[in-house]
Amino acid sequence: MNLLEVRGLKVAFENEKGEDLVVVDGVDLSLESGQTLGLVGESGCGKSVSALSLLRLLPHPAGKILNGSILWKNVDLLSMSSDQIRSIRGKEIGMIFQEPMNALNPSHTIGRQVDEVFLTHREMKQAEAREHTLKMLQKVGIPEPNVRANDYPHQLSGGMRQRIVIAMALACEPDLIIADEPTTALDVTIQAQVLQLMSELQEQSAASLLLITHDLGVVAQTCDEVAVMYGGRIVERAPVSKLFQSPKHAYTRGLLASIPSLTDPVQAKLPVIQGMVPALADLNTGCRFAPRSTHHHEQEWLEVRPPFVEVEENHWVEACPACAVLNKKDLS
């Protein structure tokens, strides 16, 4: 049984004219327990919105889920009441946000903010909660937790703040952690520290991790499986080694090629993906990457959404003839 099963998720935002702009267009995701799934894509591809929808944290009333189901342990999160979902947020599903300064309350001490998780979800007494908080701070590598617990967020460095956010997300030993670009705001040496901490803690608690990032290097280091998003859809999904060794979709191949390498000789020109990400209002109904693909595309492919097919075991790709490397049998 999958821990989390998302089927046909469709999310739209209302613009000022009252039109719905579809940001996430029919996304399927599944996550087994203990697994790490990477969700990769450029800004505006809908990866963060997908993650926020899982916890029903979309901005209200502009953002709305039009369609689909989100099954958490076989119960649809979309049919739950706000009270029920609140008991899952932070307890069964923890969330780590990109910018720790915005995720923490600047006017409360960090100790108090971590205490709150225990007070709310575990119904502990203050003294007991503090005891657990100090243990948690120790676990995420905060030196002298009993002193630091009285600090305010601004007194800590970026890396330390992110450790606090991680402590809060993991306090109730959730079954799933959603991390939205957890290391993007951090320096590379601190990023390595935070990624290592996250994977250690994940291993200890056997939790699943949904890691949202734009950095394919981070994906290679931490994830078991990867889903690549473009224009609100998942265009390719595969185990990490397969995706890096034999990417099937032109977008994935373009992304991998455009990472400047540290070891290869410097080329006169870096390979690029031509064109740019289309605006939300200009998205076509068919294959969204075809206009940027170097191969010839026919009008029909821009109008009919290509099927998502399994080309090899566990390796799924959106089967557009202009973008995907396909065998003959996959097309039939």
């Binding site: 800004s43 390595a192 280091q221 400047p260 993906i273 990400v277």
Partner: protein, 328 residues
């Protein structure tokens, strides 16, 4: 090659104010004794983590910060500030591209006005000459000519950065300072802008100071790379040499911590412990040895940490804890 820009023992200190009277209570040594030389037509990459002083250095070179000590020489002449008549001439010769194109372009001006403004400030050309210069610039950075009548918000991040680059090139500067020009861009757009910069550099023979935190990007654009740590340059070497043969412990960790897009690296983290010490209250000895709690750290206290040339063109800050001298 002839040195065009020379930075000599540059120090930029900021007062930290505190107490009820907001009197200076401490000094933040953002840049603390940096010496660098850039030859004509060369690109020097400057890397380091946030807070190491690389942006302060860039801003000082273009005159947005006032140096506390040391000097900046352009073509052998001391840049005597950026104010007044002489300052105006100096400003024309050094231009800057900023990190976030959304924040560095005036939202109420059309792209044409933005590109024309430097010419107006320096009272150059007639209206028709200025208009043709704007068109020329748009072509140069790969934008359509009708972009001149549109506003910055109508463009995507990559295109906005192209406008930022065009603006910096309006006055045909000799030196271009680029402060993290591609960090805010997405991967697929980033390589387009890197290619544009490489192309412009070769075509116009620009001398660049290229600042970034991403070594793989810097490597592609730079002839030489300097690594900064806590206000000081700790290693300078030709780009490939620095990556193949990093000698300072910090440079090594910086290279190793970049996540490689290689699934063989799964679960392998090269972790450097500790954090960058504060530039307000730096440790007495080598700040990197202090960070990694090196056993030899105490030896570095009191020794002068100077850049020394260990092989042709490869300079490192020799300290006992991070790059021990080889025994003869």
């Amino acid at each position: 090659m002839k040195t065009l820009l020379e930075i000599s023992k540059l120090k930029v200190h900021f007062p930290v104010k505190g107490g009820i009277w907001m009197r200076p209570v401490a000094t933040c040594k953002a840049v603390d004794g940096v010496s660098l030389e850039i030859a004509k037509g060369e690109t020097l990459g400057l890397v380091g983590e946030s807070g190491c002083g690389k942006s302060t250095l860039a801003r000082t070179v273009v005159g947005l910060n006032v140096p506390t000590a040391g000097k900046i020489l352009l073509d052998g002449q001391k840049l005597g500030g950026f104010r007044g008549k002489q300052g105006k001439k100096n400003r024309k010769r050094i231009q800057m591209v900023f990190q976030d194109p959304a924040e560095s372009l005036n939202a109420r001006h059309t792209v044409g006005q933005i590109l024309e403004e430097p010419l107006l400030v320096h009272r150059m050309g007639s209206q028709s000459e200025r208009n043709s210069r704007v068109k020329e610039l748009l072509n140069l950075v790969g934008l359509a000519e009708n972009a001149a009548n549109r506003y910055p918000f109508e463009f995507s991040g990559g295109q906005r950065q192209r406008i930022g680059i065009a603006r910096a090139l309006t006055l045909n500067p000799e030196v271009l300072v680029l402060d993290e020009p591609v960090s805010a861009l997405d991967l697929s757009i980033r390589s387009q802008v890197i290619n544009l910069l490489m192309d412009l550099k070769n075509r116009l023979g620009l001398t660049c100071l290229f600042i970034a935190h991403d070594l793989s990007v810097v490597r592609h654009l730079s002839d030489r790379i300097a690594v900064m740590y806590l206000g000081k340059v700790i290693e300078v070497a030709p780009a490939q040499e620095l990556l193949n043969n990093p000698l300072h412990g910090y440079t090594r960790s910086l290279i190793e911590s970049i996540p490689q897009p290689d699934p063989k690296m799964h679960g392998k983290f090269s972790v450097l412990s500790g954090e960058v010490p504060s530039p307000i209250n730096p440790p007495p000895g080598c700040p990197f040895g202090y960070r990694i709690r090196s056993e030899l750290y105490t030896e570095s206290i009191g020794t002068a940490l100077e850049l020394t040339e260990v092989s042709p063109g490869h300079w490192i800050q020799q300290c006992p804890c991070c790059c021990p001298k080889k025994k003869p």
